[in-house]
């Protein structure tokens, strides 16, 4: 048993789990191979993985770093960074899900339905605008409250909820 662990790097149960799972996946891959579309599907499989790991993640992590730098060394009275993050992240989720409609890439949509796909950009901008506005109003309210509580000292910043 120890010898197995030393050679393999994990328990026999690990090997069983891997063999069972990979057999299911391998069988499905063999079925696709019969159709002659394995390469095309594999390109999209790996391509979408790379789009996440090599494009989406570095872009949003990079933008967040820029945001952190803008924030600077001195902590503001009420931290604003999450009042930018939250609407941007929420709006991005919507965009990632519906970009074919928002950007009118989904040509099949108007063709099949004879409905315009021009409304989706407007809807997305409207929702994004609402998110930004709500975030700004909440920030203004927190700032107002912090100013009023100023005499109480720095405890006011620490007790701000929701961040």
């Amino acid at each position: 048993m120890t010898r197995f662990r030393q050679t393999y790097g994990d328990s026999p149960a690990h090997l069983v789990a891997v063999v069972v799972g990979m057999s299911i996946a391998g069988y499905a891959i063999s079925r696709v191979n019969d159709l002659g579309i394995l390469i095309a599907i594999a390109i999209w499989f790996v391509g979408m993985l790379l789009v996440h790991d090599v494009v989406l993640f570095p872009v949003y992590a990079g933008l967040d770093n820029v945001l952190a730098r803008l924030r600077g060394g001195t902590a503001p009275r009420v931290p604003w960074v999450n009042h930018v993050r939250v609407p941007v992240v929420l709006s991005s989720f919507l965009f990632i899900a519906w970009y074919p409609l928002i950007l009118r890439l989904a040509r099949g949509y108007p063709r099949a339905t004879h409905r315009s796909n021009a409304v989706f950009l407007g809807h997305w901008l409207m929702v994004t605008g609402a998110l930004v506005a709500i975030s700004a109003i909440v920030y203004a309210a927190r700032l107002f409250r912090a100013r009023r509580a100023q005499p109480a000292g720095p405890a006011a910043t620490a007790s701000v909820p929701g961040s």
Binding site: V32, I37, A40, W44, V51, H52, G108, T113
Partner: protein, 435 residues
């Protein structure tokens, strides 16, 4: 003595010595929130959600009744992957609506959770050396299938419901086999990681975490997982803030899409969903007559429905069909794309049509006038044809069908997927099952 660059390259290739700079060094990762507990929370949600999406997907596949014959079977090479198939029932009539509604809406809802889960584990992608043991080699390979599969299934599903096909293969085939490849990797991943997830969940109390503000947010206490930052930055968001943000993302996606599934009164609330918005005095059309090449001449007064059983054929004009006993049924149309609508249909029972050619309800093949596009010919199972609510509908909500809704006649079958409710029907033919 300075080491030659070639030695350094050999070291890198063999995963020895110092990791390459950047994300391969632990100090690169600075978020104080990453850690096994956080990953386990996201993992826990996906552990519940993904099996539901998988099972509803398999049920939707079964609802197409691939066993009825080649016309219904888009994946003839499925082999063992179709071994669970069964005849799709007609009761309850909302069955398909619920199955595909859950499948699509849950997929949409889990998108932020999947992205958050990937964010939480991304340092592992750059772990150095990439593999230490044989167990890690195969595990990392399975992770390519797991992550690639998750993103592939989510994005192909989302793109399909927006009728966006930038790839050169059939969505139906790719989404089906992709699901099996993914679920194999998922089974491996769950089996391998379940103990770590359970252990990590015990390290913190979710109730306490939801009461912890930013000022008290500290990195997780763990050095084993490789997820906790070795030199964490000061937190700018609490753990509950991050969980709240991701949950809000899920609820926002659901809230802006749910209306296309929940009912026609709520359809207007679906601002970001393909079949949301308003349809004054009408309901959504999956594919218009024009998009399927149906012309006025096709459906003029010369149109007649053929009903065929063996050597017996009968042709029925719309007037003759209207003169037959009419049945009214309130039934949903539920599309594989996830949207649905419930309407009141009136028409002739399929069983009555077969009776005209002296046949009992059996497997029938329904042919549309449509010139192109998928599902121009589909088969309905014995139980579907025998159901007294299964109609060749001539009208909807007290009026004649419009051309886009299938005039002169369309099929409506309780609990059947939308594409089996053939529009612009030309022929109903009794066939041998499976032939």
């Amino acid at each position: 003595m300075a080491r030659l660059p070639v030695d350094r390259l050999t070291d890198l290739a063999l995963g020895r010595g110092e990791p390459p700079p950047g994300p391969f060094r632990p100090a690169f990762w600075r978020s104080p929130l990453r850690g096994p507990w956080l990953t386990a929370v996201f993992g826990c949600v996906l552990l519940v959600g993904i099996p539901i999406i998988f099972v509803t997907g398999l049920l939707s596949y079964a609802s197409y009744d691939p066993g009825l014959g080649a016309r219904n079977d888009q994946t003839p090479g499925k082999g063992l992957l179709g071994s669970y198939l069964f005849d799709w029932p007609t009761d309850p009539s909302w069955l398909y609506r619920a199955v595909i509604g859950v499948h699509v809406l849950l997929g949409v809802t889990l998108l932020p959770i999947v992205l958050a889960k990937l964010w939480s584990v991304i340092p592992k992608l750059f772990a150095w050396p990439p593999v230490k043991t044989p167990s890690q080699v195969i595990e990392r390979l399975s992770l390519v299938l797991l992550v690639g599969g998750a993103v592939f299934e989510l994005m192909t599903g989302l793109m399909n419901i927006q009728i966006f096909y930038p790839w050169g293969f059939s969505f139906y085939t790719a989404h089906f086999y992709g699901a099996w490849v993914f679920i194999g990797a998922f089974v491996t991943h769950v089996a391998v990681k379940l103990p770590a997830m359970r252990h990590a969940l015990r390290t913190r109390s979710i109730a306490r975490e939801l009461r912890t503000p930013l000022a008290d947010t500290v990195p997780e206490d763990d050095t084993e997982s490789g997820l906790v930052a070795t030199s964490p930055a000061a937190p700018t968001m609490s753990r509950r803030g991050l969980l709240g943000l991701v949950s809000a993302g899920s609820l926002l996606l659901l809230g802006l899409a749910g209306g296309q599934t929940f009912g026609d009164r709520l359809r207007g609330t679906a601002l970001l969903a393909p079949r949301g918005g308003s349809y004054p005095g009408d309901f959504p059309v999956n594919k218009t007559a024009r998009s399927r090449g149906i012309t006025a001449a096709d459906v003029s007064t010369t149109w007649a429905l053929s009903v065929v059983a063996g050597s017996r054929t009968i042709a029925l004009t719309r007037a003759q069909l209207l003169a037959m006993p009419q049945t009214t049924a309130r039934l949903p149309i539920a599309c594989v794309e996830g949207w649905s609508t419930v309407q009141t249909w009136t028409g002739v029972r399929l069983a009555d049509l077969l009776d005209l050619v002296g046949a009992q309800p059996g497997t029938v093949e329904v042919t549309s006038l449509q010139k192109h596009g998928a599902f121009g010919v589909v088969r309905l199972a014995d139980n579907q044809v025998a159901d007294p609510r299964s109609l060749l509908a001539l009208g909807v909500n007290g009026a004649d069908l419009t051309l886009d809704h299938g005039f002169p006649a369309r099929i409506i079958v309780p609990a059947a997927p939308g594409v089996h409710c053939t529009k612009w029907v030309r022929e109903v033919r009794l066939v041998e099952r499976g032939a």
